[in-house]
C-alpha cells in the first residue's frame, strides 16, 4: 500500500491534499473508473499527474480547449513532469507527424477530441499502452450544458478502441442530471463508476449582488470597488471588447494595475500578463467568461461579474477562482436591467434561425468544415429530421433561458444567496457556517462594504518593488551570477 502523502511530498513538495484529491487517487490505484466533480478547479491536474508518477503509466488527457492545452502542458512541466505533449489541430502536418511517430516517448499526452476522431490518429494511440484515460471538462458531453461539444460524444467509442482503459472523468460543476448524462454517454453503468463529488459550497467566499439603476451607475460602483478592494481580483465580462475597454478605463481611474486577458490574445502577451498577475504586478484582470486561466493563483481575493453569467453552474465555477488559499474572499455580481436583454440576445444568437437551418438541411455539404455548424452537423449525421432538429434546438434554447432566469432570480433573491445556489445542487447550508460571513442577506454589505474589505480582505504583501527603471539592474536581476 502506497502512502499517498509521502508520494505527494516526494513528487510535488506539498504536505497536504486538497479536498477530494486523495480519494480520487485512491480510487484510481484500486482501478476504479472515477467521476470527479471538484468545484474549486484547482488541483485537478494533480490527480492524474500524481497517479502517472506513482504508477509510471501513460496518461492520455482529452481536453476541449486548445488554447488552454498548452497552458496545461506548462503547468505539468511546472510541477516537474517533462515528457508532456499536446496534440491539437493547430499543429501543422510536420509537427503532428513528428509527435505521432514518437508518441511512446511521452508520458502525458493531451489531445483534442477532434484529433482522436481521426482514424489515422487513433491507430497510433491503439499501439500505446494507455494506463489512464482522462476526460477533462466531461460536462461538454451533455447536450443540456452550455459547452456541448459533439466530438465528445465519440469518446465512448474511442474508449472502446483503446481497449477500455481506466478512466477518470473530471468536471468542476455538474448537476445530477449532467452527471448522469456523462456516464450514460460514455457507456458506463452507474455502478461501474465511483463518484467523488465535493460540495459546491465554499464557505470562505462571501456572496453579494447589486441591482444598479443603469450602466452608468454600474460603472461608477465598479470603479469605486476596484479602487478600494484589497488584493488581487478578476472581473468577468461577456465580450472581449468590453473587457478591453473597461481595463483601460479602470487603469486610468483607479490607481490599480488593470489588464485585459482573453482568448483572442497572442500567446506572448498572454504569457506576460499571466506572469505579472502571478507575481502580483497586476492587481486586476478583466477576463471573458468563456476563457479560463492557465495558471493557479491562490490569493485572488475577489471576483466581480460585470455581466450576468449564463447559468448558476457557470457562476459557481467562475467565483471559485477566488479564495483558493481558503482565506476570506468576495464574489460580487453587478446587474443593471439591460443585462438581461444582452444575455437573452446572446442565447438567441447562439441558435441558427429557421431559414438558415432549412438552407443547411438542403445543402448539407455546407455543414462540413465550419465550426459554427458543428452541432447542426452532428444532428444531421444522426439523421435527425428537420422538424426534430428544430424541436431539439427549441428545447435546448428554452433550457438556456430557464438557466438564465434562475441566474436572474439569484440576483433578485431576497433570501440567503448561498441557500439559493446550493439548492441547485441539492446541498444544504453547513450548520457550522457563520451567518455574519455568508451573504448580503444577513449582513448589510452594500452599506458597509468598505468595512468588510478592511476587516476580511487581505492586502497583497508588497514585494518586488525594486526599481526596474535601469536596464543594467534588470540584467543583474535576471541572471544571478556566481561571483
Amino acid at each position: 500500500m502506497v502512502n499517498l502523502l509521502d508520494e505527494l511530498y516526494k513528487y510535488f513538495g506539498f504536505r497536504q491534499f486538497r479536498p477530494g484529491q486523495e480519494q480520487v487517487i485512491q480510487n484510481l490505484i484500486a482501478r476504479h473508473h472515477t467521476l470527479a466533480v471538484l468545484p474549486t478547479g484547482g488541483g485537478k491536474t494533480l490527480l492524474y499527474q500524481l497517479y502517472g508518477a506513482i504508477s509510471h503509466q501513460r496518461v492520455v488527457i482529452v481536453s476541449p480547449l486548445i488554447s488552454l492545452m498548452q497552458d496545461q502542458v506548462s503547468r505539468l512541466q511546472y510541477l516537474g513532469s517533462k515528457h508532456v505533449v499536446a496534440l491539437t489541430s493547430t499543429l501543422d502536418f510536420k509537427q503532428r507527424w513528428a509527435i505521432l511517430t514518437h508518441l511512446q516517448d511521452y508520458q502525458f499526452i493531451y489531445v483534442s477530441p477532434e484529433m482522436l476522431s481521426n482514424p489515422k490518429v487513433i491507430a497510433y494511440f491503439r499501439q500505446l499502452s494507455v494506463g489512464l484515460f482522462v476526460i477533462d471538462e466531461a460536462h461538454c458531453i451533455s447536450e443540456w450544458g452550455p459547452d456541448f461539444r459533439p466530438d465528445y460524444l465519440r469518446l465512448g467509442q474511442i474508449r472502446e478502441q483503446l481497449n477500455r482503459p481506466l478512466t477518470l472523468m473530471m468536471t468542476a460543476t455538474a448537476t445530477q442530471q449532467i452527471q448522469k448524462d456523462i456516464l450514460s454517454k460514455l457507456g458506463f453503468a452507474s455502478q461501474d463508476v465511483q463518484k467523488v463529488v465535493l460540495p459546491v459550497d465554499r464557505p470562505n467566499i462571501f456572496l453579494s449582488a447589486k441591482m444598479c439603476e443603469n450602466q452608468k451607475s454600474k460603472n461608477q460602483l465598479l470603479q469605486s470597488l476596484v479602487s478600494k478592494l484589497n488584493g488581487a481580483g478578476i472581473i468577468y465580462f461577456s465580450s472581449k471588447s468590453q473587457a478591453e475597454q473597461t481595463a483601460l478605463t479602470l487603469n486610468r481611474q483607479t490607481g490599480k494595475r488593470v489588464m485585459a486577458y482573453h482568448g483572442g490574445m497572442d500567446s506572448q502577451p498572454r504569457f506576460r500578463i499571466q506572469q505579472q498577475f502571478m507575481n502580483d504586478e497586476i492587481d486586476v484582470i478583466c477576463a471573458t467568461s468563456a476563457f479560463g486561466m492557465g495558471i493557479d493563483k491562490d490569493n485572488i481575493r475577489f471576483v466581480i461579474h460585470y455581466h450576468l453569467p449564463s447559468s448558476i453552474q457557470n457562476y459557481v465555477q467562475e467565483i471559485g477562482r477566488c479564495g483558493r488559499d481558503q482565506q476570506p474572499s468576495l464574489a460580487i455580481l453587478l446587474y443593471e436591467p439591460n443585462d438581461h436583454y444582452l444575455q437573452t440576445h446572446l442565447i438567441e444568437n447562439n441558435f441558427p434561425e429557421e431559414g438558415l437551418l432549412q438552407y443547411l438541411y438542403q445543402h448539407p455539404d455546407k455543414l462540413t468544415g465550419n465550426d459554427a455548424f458543428k452541432v447542426i452537423k452532428y444532428y444531421y449525421d444522426q439523421h435527425y429530421s428537420f422538424e426534430k432538429i428544430q424541436k431539439t434546438f427549441r428545447l435546448i434554447q428554452q433550457h438556456r433561458l430557464t438557466e438564465l432566469n434562475e441566474m436572474l432570480a439569484y440576483v433578485e433573491a431576497t433570501g440567503c444567496r448561498r441557500a439559493s445556489i446550493l439548492s441547485h445542487f441539492n446541498e444544504q447550508i453547513s450548520p457550522t457556517l457563520n451567518p455574519k460571513y455568508c451573504c448580503d442577506h444577513h449582513y448589510d454589505f452594500w452599506r458597509s462594504w468598505e468595512t468588510f474589505n478592511d476587516q476580511y480582505l487581505k492586502k497583497t504583501p508588497i514585494t518586488n518593488l525594486k526599481s526596474r527603471s535601469n536596464w543594467r539592474t534588470i540584467l543583474d536581476r535576471l541572471f544571478l551570477l556566481k561571483n
Partner: protein
C-alpha cells in the same frame, strides 16, 4: 494593431503611395502587384519585415489622419504626407534605430528568433537561481524542442554569465537607454515578468507599433551580433533555420527551369512544373522584381516590336500607367509583358538614382 505610424514611416511628401500595398508589403503578402509597388516605392528590402502583425482596419485610421491634416488621401487610398505629417515622421523615426536595420527582418525570421531568445532567457534566468519550478512559456512544438535540446547540451557552459555579457555588450553598443529598456522589458525570468507592447508603449509614450518595430530592429541586430561569434559558441544554435529566401521557393524553381532551358516556352515550363501558365508568369515576374537586371532575360519574354511600342507610348509617370491605357494603344500587348516592361524601366531608373 493600429497602423497609423506605418504610413508616417513608409510614406513621404513626394509621392502618393498606395496605403494598402504598403501594409501588404510589410506583412509579406507577396502578390505580383504588391511586389511591384514595393519596387516602385523602393521597399523591396522591407518585404515581410513586419511578418505576423495584425493591423486594424486601415481605412478608418487613414481618414482620421487626413482629418488631422497629417496626410493627404486621394480617392484610391493613396497617401502623401503633409508638412506636419513629415514632422511627425521625424519624431517617430527618432524613437527607432536607423530604419535600415529593419531590413534584416526581411531576410531572417526575426520574430521567431525573438521568441526563442525570450524563452531561452527565461530558462537561463531560472537556472541561474537554481529554480526548477516555474511556468515555461509556450511556443510552437519544434521551437520548444530546439530550445530544450539547446539548454540540455549547453547548461554546463556558464550560460547566465554568457547571456549577461552578451546583453550588456549589445546594449552598450546600442548606446540608448530608451531602446535598452525596450529590449530588456521584453524578457522574462526569475521573479521578473516581461511587459506587453501595450504596457511598454504607455511607459515610453509611443505607439505599440513603434515598440514592435524597435523589437524587430533590436533583435535583428542581436541576431547579427550572434552570427559574428564563433560557430561552436552555445548561442549560435539559437539562430538555426531563420534564413528566409528572398524569392519564394516555388518562384525560384520556375525561374531556374526557365533560365536553364532557353529553348523552352512558358507553356512547356507550365506543364513541367504542373502549374498554370499564368502562375509561371507570376513566378517570373517575382524573379524579375528581385533579381538584378542582368540576371533576368527581359528580351526573351517581351517581343521586340512590342518593346518598341511600349517605349514609344510610355508616359512620364510610369507607375501610374495602367494596363488598360497601354492596351488601348498597343492592342496585342499581354499583361505580363506590360508588367515586365514596367519592372525593367523602374529598375533602370532606380539604378541611375542610386
Amino acid at each position: 494593431m493600429n497602423s497609423a505610424d506605418l504610413f508616417f514611416i513608409f510614406c513621404d511628401d513626394q509621392q502618393f503611395r498606395r496605403a494598402k500595398a504598403i501594409k501588404n508589403i510589410l506583412i509579406g503578402r507577396r502578390t505580383v502587384s504588391n511586389l511591384y509597388w514595393a519596387l516602385e516605392y523602393n521597399l523591396l528590402d522591407y518585404v515581410d519585415s513586419l511578418h505576423g502583425i495584425n493591423f486594424d482596419d486601415i481605412d478608418h485610421t487613414l481618414h482620421r489622419l487626413q482629418q488631422q491634416k497629417l496626410l493627404l488621401l486621394d480617392d484610391q487610398m493613396r497617401v502623401k504626407l503633409t508638412t506636419s505629417g513629415m514632422m511627425k515622421r521625424q519624431q517617430i523615426l527618432s524613437k527607432l534605430l536607423p530604419l535600415k536595420y529593419l531590413k534584416i527582418a526581411s531576410q531572417y525570421d526575426v520574430s521567431r528568433f525573438l521568441q526563442r531568445f525570450v524563452f531561452a532567457t527565461q530558462i537561463v534566468s531560472e537556472y541561474s537561481y537554481s529554480n526548477r519550478k516555474y511556468y515555461p512559456q509556450s511556443i510552437s512544438f519544434f521551437e520548444d524542442q530546439l530550445i530544450k535540446k539547446w539548454f540540455i547540451q549547453n547548461k554546463g557552459q556558464q550560460l547566465p554569465e554568457l547571456f549577461h555579457q552578451l546583453l550588456t555588450d549589445f546594449l552598450n553598443w546600442v548606446n540608448r537607454d530608451d531602446l535598452a529598456t525596450i529590449l530588456v522589458e521584453s524578457l522574462s525570468g526569475h521573479h521578473f515578468s516581461g511587459k506587453t507592447e501595450e504596457q511598454i508603449s504607455n511607459q515610453q509614450q509611443v505607439s505599440p507599433l513603434v515598440i514592435q518595430i524597435c523589437w524587430r530592429q533590436l533583435y535583428s541586430c542581436l541576431l547579427l551580433e550572434i552570427f559574428k561569434k564563433k560557430v561552436n559558441e552555445p548561442l549560435t544554435a539559437l539562430t538555426t533555420n531563420l534564413r528566409r529566401p528572398i524569392i519564394s521557393n516555388s518562384s525560384r524553381q520556375t525561374y531556374d527551369l526557365f533560365i536553364h532551358h532557353p529553348e523552352e516556352s512558358t507553356a512547356i515550363i507550365a506543364s513541367k512544373r504542373r502549374i498554370k501558365i499564368t502562375t509561371v508568369y507570376e513566378h517570373l515576374i517575382e524573379a524579375a522584381i528581385f533579381l538584378p537586371i542582368s540576371q533576368f532575360p527581359f528580351q526573351r519574354l517581351i517581343n521586340p516590336q512590342i518593346m518598341d511600342k511600349l517605349e514609344f507610348n510610355q508616359p512620364a509617370l510610369l507607375g501610374e500607367w495602367s494596363y488598360r491605357d497601354a492596351v488601348n494603344k498597343i492592342p496585342q500587348l499581354q499583361f505580363f509583358e506590360f508588367r515586365l516592361y514596367q519592372i525593367l524601366r523602374r529598375k533602370q531608373v532606380n539604378g541611375k538614382s542610386t
